[in-house]
């Protein structure tokens, strides 16, 4: 009799452990944001074709996250000049998995239904591995995405190595690309050569991410 009692308590305890997990997840405090040198926050998002992408799927690979809003003039600077597509192609050639993330809320700038997004991707010559849709902005907030563009580098161990601006020219003028120092490629090149990233974070520039109001 007492045995079944202990077992029943133990079952309750196991259930409690599960509850505590849910509860702790639920009670969110103000997140101080992702930390350089710490594991990059895990996420799973659908791409424009409905396929799910988890950060965990890319363990063992170099990953770039790019916050994208085609309506944003700062993003246009990098796409109309082919700067972004060239970077995507260059690093794809070196095995980097490049994921563009759209955290615009439905009805806001940069949000498109998947089909429309595919058309624009085609038109722009988007070279990212996938364009992921984050209409709730959950993943954007997890990574403290403030602007489009904003760039993140994650190493094969899943560690966050860089979070910030794409380059040192916070301007939407196409001419500002001339002579710009690209923080993203600097971080990737250093990290992929086995060296520490000398500039692991910079203030991102561009349009605000169009989170749900």
């Amino acid at each position: 009799m007492h045995r079944s009692r202990i077992r029943s308590h133990a079952t309750i305890a196991a259930a409690l452990a599960a509850v505590s997990l849910l509860v702790a997840r639920d009670a969110r405090a103000q997140a101080p944001g992702p930390t350089i040198g710490q594991p990059a926050p895990a996420f799973t998002l659908p791409d424009t074709y409905g396929a799910e992408h988890s950060l965990a799927d890319y363990r063992g690979e170099w990953v770039v996250l790019e916050w994208l809003n085609y309506g944003c003039p700062y993003v246009k600077k990098h796409y109309d000049s082919q700067n972004m597509q060239n970077l995507q192609a260059e690093y794809a050639g070196r095995g980097v998995k490049w994921l563009a993330i759209v955290s615009s809320a439905p009805g806001k700038q940069g949000y498109y239904e998947p089909d429309a997004m595919n058309e624009i991707n085609e038109e722009k010559g988007q070279n990212a591995l996938a364009v992921l849709l984050d209409p709730t902005g959950r993943v954007g907030r997890m990574y403290k995405a403030q602007t489009t563009p904003q760039m993140v580098v994650i190493d094969p161990a899943g560690t966050l190595l860089y979070n910030g601006a794409i380059d040192d020219r916070p301007s939407s003028r196409p001419t500002s690309l001339e002579g710009a120092h690209n923080y993203l490629s600097a971080a990737l090149d250093e990290a992929m050569a086995g060296r520490p990233v000398s500039v692991p974070t910079t203030k991102p520039y561009g349009c605000s991410v169009k989170y749900p109001s």
Binding site: M1, S4, A10, A17, A29, G71, P73, G206
Partner: protein, 745 residues
């Protein structure tokens, strides 16, 4: 008065803008002050794209003429459609400040833009710094000496600015202004002068009578500003309505609450370090803006250049001297001591009873049970460690005991302890287990192997249970090890959790592996039944304590809900045990069991509803919890006391932390200890972690701790804090005061 003035300037601005459009004469009228050449409005009439959407720009001069060698002021006047904004020099989380690319005659130089004080522009979770409606960006122009009376000077430039409502449009305009050179004293242009006067008034003042510094301790800057008396009079002694705008974009979190407060005549503002900051700057620069009047103009705006003082690391348990080996040792002994904590002891006693009852069944069974229990404890600690790491990776500020900051968890724990107490009192006799409805094997005699498997599973599960009930307790040694572990890479954190689990499991596992010891335990008898029943009362006391914590978190209505849930739990147990046992006929048994489950579910619903009706975080904060009625800790309050050189003692506590409550009641609240604090001139503050509070989590992290209790004694001056042990005695406190803090004269 002020409103009338602004209306006038608005009309003047509109007139000047109109003048820009109207003036098309090839020879501009000298002295008119404002002449646009190919500005944006001019191009808008053509078929080209609108280069300055939702806004307009004009280049204005304050004076009607230029005197040789005397510098003068021009202004880029941006007017925006209602609701649209443009940006300050630091645009905040997004955006871009306006810029002017000058083309001025040889020998002329244009200064930096002088930026009026900005406003906060909210797009949660983001915040921008900028301007609505209109702004005049002043620029000082310095001409060369050799200008000839009667000549004209043409200043041209391209203005770029960003105009946003939520979506943004880059805007640009080619602007120019032509002014005559005159040896006569330059007169003000009556059309633009009021606008410049307003623009100057909105510039932050540089005032050496304000002194400031910023104390940095990860992750906060405590900005301390001593304003002149005049400002104190303006702002009043209540909570100041001020905001600090940082000049650089990667120094502070623009959207973070600043919680300005007065500490005496010092204004204390808490600034969160930017997540995009790479290094701590030498100086925090920015503009302090006080409350605004009805027109939106700040009552005062002043430039702040606060040198940064980086606070030293605590003296106790620094990372370097506390290696992995010592951390593992501390964690192991902490785990051993957990067994003696009031929340664990009754549960483990049950396990030992199990040994006593089955001491005759051969040591193999006991060893297997012991091993299963140990694995259960270890697995639970791994799960806890993994959850903690995952939450931290997701950016949560949590520490040990974090579960108890959730009312739902506290409520479920209360119900669990209540059930355990009922079980010890024998209310679950007749073999009815709520979780075993529908299992027919109860009526069978279990086979030997099945029996063995069951006992193994149960031992594993009781290991899990022991860990779950242990989470409110922090044993001595444990705090230091966990605090260290949570700052380390995940692998080392998990190792420390493993050591903790191993320590907790070792007495029981050791007992199970020593048949000699097991045999020496007293033989079972009536004494065991009596002791079991007696042990129900510590558990019921735990329920009272958990209910109190729950009440602090959710208020009196929530507490009533929890008590209702306990009542229903008792009812479900009674119904299940009374009619659901084997003594009842099968149909009656089924009805009783279904009823018991239904009542149990109802209890759960009542509990969840009670747990989610939490009151406003501020109104019923846990600051009343605990035995000590000390003033509440806050980062500015603590920093202020420390910077004044006075000694300070901080009690990091929580209602759900039993050892905290014991320490407060038995030690800190005793008259001798209170008197000793007073005699040594030590200010005492209480940091109550009953609810989640990132500031307290941050302060604990600075001390390299992640759990309460923590007792930090700051001896005064720039000396680093001394951490007292987590189990206090009067002597420990008194000795620490004698050793570190000189007696007040």
């Amino acid at each position: 008065m002020n409103e009338t003035y602004r209306v006038v300037t608005r009309i003047v601005a509109t007139l000047t803008a109109t003048a820009v459009v109207l003036v098309t004469a090839p020879t501009p009228l000298p002295g008119q002050g404002v002449v646009g050449e190919q500005d944006a409005r001019g191009e808008r009439s053509s078929a080209g794209p609108d280069l300055s959407p939702h806004s307009a720009a004009a280049l204005l001069a304050e004076n009607r003429s230029v005197g040789p060698g005397s510098s003068f002021t021009v202004g880029l006047h941006l007017t925006l459609e209602p609701g649209w904004h443009t940006y300050w020099k630091n645009p905040g989380d997004s955006g871009e400040p306006a810029s002017i690319t000058w083309r001025v005659p040889a020998g002329f130089s244009a200064g930096e833009i002088q930026w009026p004080a900005p406003q906060l522009i909210f797009f949660p979770p983001l915040v921008s710094y900028g301007y609505f409606d209109e702004v005049l960006l002043l620029v000082e122009i310095t001409p060369p000496p050799g200008l000839v009376d009667g000549d004209t000077v043409r200043l041209a430039g391209r203005a770029d600015w960003l105009v946003c409502i939520e979506d943004c449009f880059p805007a640009e305009a080619e602007l120019a202004i032509t002014l005559p050179v005159s040896d006569a004293a330059p007169g003000l242009d009556p059309m633009t002068a009021p606008l410049f006067e307003t623009g100057r008034a909105e510039l932050p003042v540089v005032d050496s009578t304000w002194s400031s510094f910023a104390r940095f301790k990860q992750p906060w800057y405590g900005l301390k500003i001593d304003p002149p008396d005049s400002l104190i009079r303006v702002v009043g002694s209540d909570l100041p309505d001020v905001h600090f705008f940082a000049s650089e974009g990667n120094v502070i979190e623009h959207a973070a609450e600043q919680r300005p407060d007065w500490d005496g005549e010092t204004l204390v503002i808490r600034l969160a370090r930017s997540g995009f900051s790479f290094a701590i700057p030498d100086t925090v620069r920015g503009v302090l803006v006080t409350a605004r009047d009805e027109s939106g103009a700040p009552i005062a705006a002043v430039e702040i250049n606060a040198p940064v003082i980086v606070a030293g690391n605590p003296a106790v348990a620094p990372e370097a001297s506390f290696g992995l080996g010592l951390a593992l040792l501390f964690a192991f002994f902490g785990g051993v001591l957990l067994n003696l904590m009031p929340c664990v002891f009754p549960v483990l006693s049950l396990k030992v009873f199990g040994f006593v009852e089955h001491s005759g069944q051969g040591s193999g069974g006991a060893a297997r049970q012991g091993a299963a229990f140990g694995v259960g404890v270890l697995a639970s600690f791994w799960v806890l460690g993994a959850v903690l790491l995952a939450l931290r990776a997701a950016g949560e500020s949590v520490g040990w005991g974090f579960q108890l900051q959730s009312p739902l968890f506290v409520g479920v724990m209360a119900v669990l302890f209540f059930l355990l107490a009922l079980a010890l009192l024998g209310a679950l006799e007749f073999g009815v287990s709520l979780t075993r409805f529908g299992e027919s094997e109860l009526v069978k005699v279990p086979s030997r192997t099945r029996f063995a498997r069951h006992t193994t599973t149960r031992s594993f599960a009781s290991g899990v249970l022991a860990t779950v009930v242990a989470t409110p307790c922090t044993a001595p040694f444990m705090g230091a090890a966990l605090g260290w572990a949570l700052l380390r890479p995940p692998a080392e954190t998990m190792l420390v959790f493993t050591a903790l689990g191993a320590g907790m499991a070792v007495p029981y596992v050791g007992l199970s592996l020593s048949p000699g010891l097991v045999d020496r335990l007293p033989s079972p008898g009536r004494w065991m039944e009596t002791l079991k029943q007696a042990l129900a009362f510590p558990l019921l006391a735990t329920v009272v304590w958990l209910a109190w914590v729950f009440g602090l978190q959710t208020g009196v209505d929530g507490l009533a809900g929890l008590l209702g849930a306990l009542l229903l739990t008792g009812l479900a147990v009674w119904v299940g045990a009374r009619w659901g046992g084997f003594a009842s006929t099968p149909p009656g048994r089924t009805i009783a069991r279904v009823s018991a489950i239904t009542i149990g579910v109802a209890a759960l619903i009542v509990l969840v509803r009670a747990a989610v009706t939490a009151p406003e975080p501020e109104s019923a904060s846990g600051s009343e919890s605990g035995a000590t009625a000390w003033p509440a800790w806050s980062p500015p309050a603590a920093a202020e006391i420390r910077s004044s050189g006075r000694p300070l003692f901080i009690d990091f506590t929580a209602a759900w932390c039993l050892s905290c409550q014991v320490n407060e009641r038995v030690v800190l609240n005793k008259a001798t200890v209170r008197d000793a604090f007073r005699d040594h001139g030590v200010t005492t503050l209480k940091a109550d972690w009953t609810r989640r509070d990132p500031a307290i989590t941050g302060a604990l992290a600075e001390l390299e701790r992640s759990s309460v209790p923590v007792y930090a004694l700051y001896p005064g001056g720039a000396v680093d804090p001394v951490l007292l042990p987590s189990v206090l005695t009067k002597d420990i406190v008194l000795e620490a005061l004698e050793t570190y803090v000189p007696l007040q004269e």
